[in-house]
């Protein structure tokens, strides 16, 4: 399987290098531990993030995007594969070996309330990483906390307040301040704006853009909203059922989405422009996301794909740069001439039920 292509030219090793990462969870099991069911939450994901680069990881619920984020942040142990931070393999490190590396990677979560300790003041929350890693003490620590609060746009008076006294947007700013106060090399943002109102979301996205430019950290930005991920990212990887199905620069993904799932995602996101929205051909996917307990054979998207053929049922497509360097896609129907026109197939009504088509092909 090809790694996600690197677009920027790099000096030195990438900040994050994930190779063939799999995370499987056991889901209960039968009597006497025989034949345990395994959820393949992440199944063979490879990606790289260069210095100062923002990689967006987009997918719907159950795609495994958050699990990738947690594995990268060292919050869960992968089943197989490797994760390197700044050239150093972290998946087999012990807790104590991992500890100094935790300075280099930080994560923020969707719900800014449940991830802040309600008994700690804002100042203490932001000071905590500095204390944990023994980076600064006394006045120097206070100074760094104040400077970080200012960077995320919080008034210094809020230092002595508690999380419940803050609005959702302010809490997410505190989360950012805590994650960035150690100046990590990699910042994992897991749906950081999904719980916020649009006007607050806009402010946090602008802030994140500014901070990234100012501090130069690399970022893995995880989201379900294509327009949000597109706004913030340099490159984007699309996940479906534990696998990356397409990855390229943000502009290319927007201009030439190739994988039928990516095309469906774009088509399903309604544009805030009524005449434009009315004129679009919508690709409405049939059925639900299959269970990751029992993923489909072949291409995992074939059960919902409007253009799937017989081969998609049996052969798993590899993530390859079919149409040119810098654009990887895992689909049998993408060739050097480009992607299948899923919208046209839907509009022409040739995308009948999957059963019909598979019979035709057979």
């Amino acid at each position: 399987m090809t790694s996600v292509p690197q677009v920027r030219s790099q000096a030195g090793p990438p900040v994050l290098d994930v190779t063939d990462l799999s995370v499987h969870f056991s889901a209960g099991g039968r009597l006497l531990g025989r034949g345990r069911d395994v959820v393949r939450a992440v199944d063979g994901v490879s990606l790289r993030i260069g210095q100062g680069e923002v990689l967006g990881l987009v997918g719907e619920s159950g795609s495994g995007k958050s699990t990738v984020g947690r594995a990268v942040a060292g919050l869960l142990r992968p089943t197989s594969g490797s994760i390197s931070l700044g050239g150093r393999e972290i998946t087999r490190l012990s807790r104590s070996q991992m500890r100094p590396l935790r300075r280099d990677v930080h994560i923020v979560f969707q719900d800014p309330y449940s991830s802040l300790n309600p008994r700690m003041s804002i100042g203490a929350i932001v000071a905590e990483p500095l204390r944990q890693h023994g980076v600064a003490r006394g006045r120097e620590r206070d100074r760094q906390v104040d400077s970080m609060l200012a960077k995320v746009g919080l008034r210094a008076q809020l230092r002595d307040r508690y999380p419940h006294e803050l609005s959702g947007g302010q809490r997410q700013r505190v989360g950012l301040a805590r994650a960035l106060v150690l100046r990590p090399r990699l910042f994992v943002a897991d749906e950081p704006v999904s719980a916020l109102d649009v006007s607050v979301q806009a402010a946090i996205l602008n802030l994140l853009t500014d901070l990234q430019e100012e501090m130069g950290f690399s970022c893995l930005f995880i989201g379900h909203d294509l327009s949000v991920v597109e706004f913030i990212s340099d490159r984007i990887a699309v996940m479906y059922l534990g696998k990356i199905v397409e990855a390229t620069t943000r502009l290319r993904l927007f201009e030439q989405p190739q994988h039928p799932y990516t095309q469906a995602l774009f088509s399903a996101a309604p544009l805030p422009d009524p005449p434009l929205q009315r004129g679009r051909v919508r690709i409405v996917l049939s059925g639900d996301l299959p269970s990751p307990l029992d993923p489909p054979s072949g291409c995992s998207f074939h059960t919902r794909c409007p253009v799937a053929v017989e081969r998609c049922r049996s052969d798993e497509p590899a993530l390859t740069e079919v149409t040119g360097p810098g654009h990887a896609v895992a689909c049998h129907l993408v060739d050097e001439h480009g992607p299948p026109d899923v919208a046209a197939a839907v509009a022409a009504g040739t995308a009948g039920t999957k059963e019909d088509r598979v019979h035709d092909q057979a």
């Binding site: 294509l226 706004f231 805030p272 639900d288």
Partner: protein, 326 residues
């Protein structure tokens, strides 16, 4: 023919330990048959309270003033029993979280059949047949098999389809959908929006859609009401509103949404709306949006601007309206 729903001068005040909260002030709106009206705004703007006052689903500490008429019948004066009958037959509600609205102990089929037997007085067999038709209407494959399943066996999208099937079981004239797709993935959302289009086309159902998502509004609404701090700030047809937004708050909302159509290589900037939503404890005589508004002037702080026609069929509550982005 008069409008299906006429809300006139609606006010809702909640009595709380910290004093009264004026959640909704002077909201008037109409919905025609088979029309989709979107009510848009951010958390706390009063959109859900406005909607829930129609079927009488507000908590006991709410005081409702003004008038709500459905086909000329005043709803604010109905008793509990009459409201219950109204909710079954004429007005139904679909909520954001379908799991908490379905009873986990009963099969999907039982829950639909129960509604039909209660409200439509159908026999067991007729009701079962109708239940299959309803699941087909909302696009659930293999409906007879699904009827025997329990809510936990269904995905989020399927549960929301079941909720809509139950809501339209008695062919209500008005369906109130409160953030019906917010908890769902975008590809599933597309299917649910299609179901709502089908209801309008095939059953002539009018829909009041409560949402914060301007993309959903653009996709499905005919008319739009924008709310801020418990009041209407702008109201227009959907094309007009997006093409010629007049109120600075509407402009702020439109500018805050990242757009997929950005074609330049450089990252854009999103419009921020500085400050925070005002407290609803007081109700001063000034524009509620003035503290956050780039156009605010002395007049905005001296009086509350009334909602007035700024263009044809286009109302805005602003002393300085206009489509220039702040």
């Amino acid at each position: 023919m008069s409008a299906l729903l006429e809300v006139d001068g609606l006010g809702v005040t909640f009595t709380t330990e910290d004093g009264p909260v004026h959640a909704v002030n002077d909201v008037s709106l109409t919905i025609q048959r088979a029309q989709i009206l979107a009510v848009v705004g951010e958390s706390g703007c009063g959109k859900s309270v406005t909607a829930m006052s129609i079927p009488g689903l507000l908590p006991e500490n709410a005081q409702v003033s003004g008038s709500i008429r459905l086909e000329g019948v005043e709803l604010t004066r109905l008793g509990a029993g009459e409201l219950r009958r109204l909710r079954g037959k004429q007005v139904s509600v679909v909520f954001q979280e379908p799991m908490t609205s379905l009873n986990p102990a009963f099969s999907v089929g039982y829950q639909i059949v129960e509604v039909l037997r209660q409200h439509e007085r159908l026999g067991r067999r007729t009701a079962a047949r109708r239940a299959v038709e309803l699941l087909e209407l909302v696009g659930i494959p293999a409906p007879s098999r699904r009827l025997r399943e329990y809510p936990h066996q269904l995905s989020g999208g399927m549960r929301q389809r079941v909720m809509i099937a139950i809501a339209v079981a008695c062919s209500p004239k008005l369906l109130i959908a409160d953030e019906p797709t917010t908890a769902l993935d975008v590809t599933i959302q597309a299917g649910i929006l299609d179901v709502m289009r089908t209801l309008r086309a095939e059953l002539g159902t009018a829909i009041m859609l409560i949402t914060h998502d301007l993309g959903v509004v653009a996709d499905i609404a005919d008319r739009v009401v924008v709310m801020y701090a418990g009041r209407r700030v702008e109201q227009a047809g959907v094309d007009e509103l997006f093409a010629q937004p007049q109120h600075p708050y509407t402009l702020g909302l439109l500018g805050a949404v990242p757009r997929l159509s950005v074609t330049s290589g450089a990252r854009g900037r999103l419009t921020e709306i500085p400050g925070m939503v005002p407290s609803l404890h007081e109700d001063p005589d000034e524009c509620s949006f003035a503290p956050r508004c780039p156009r605010a002037a002395a007049d905005c702080r001296a009086h509350r601007p009334a909602l007035r026609a700024v263009r044809d069929e286009h109302l805005a509550a602003c002393f300085h309206p206009g489509p220039v982005r702040p």
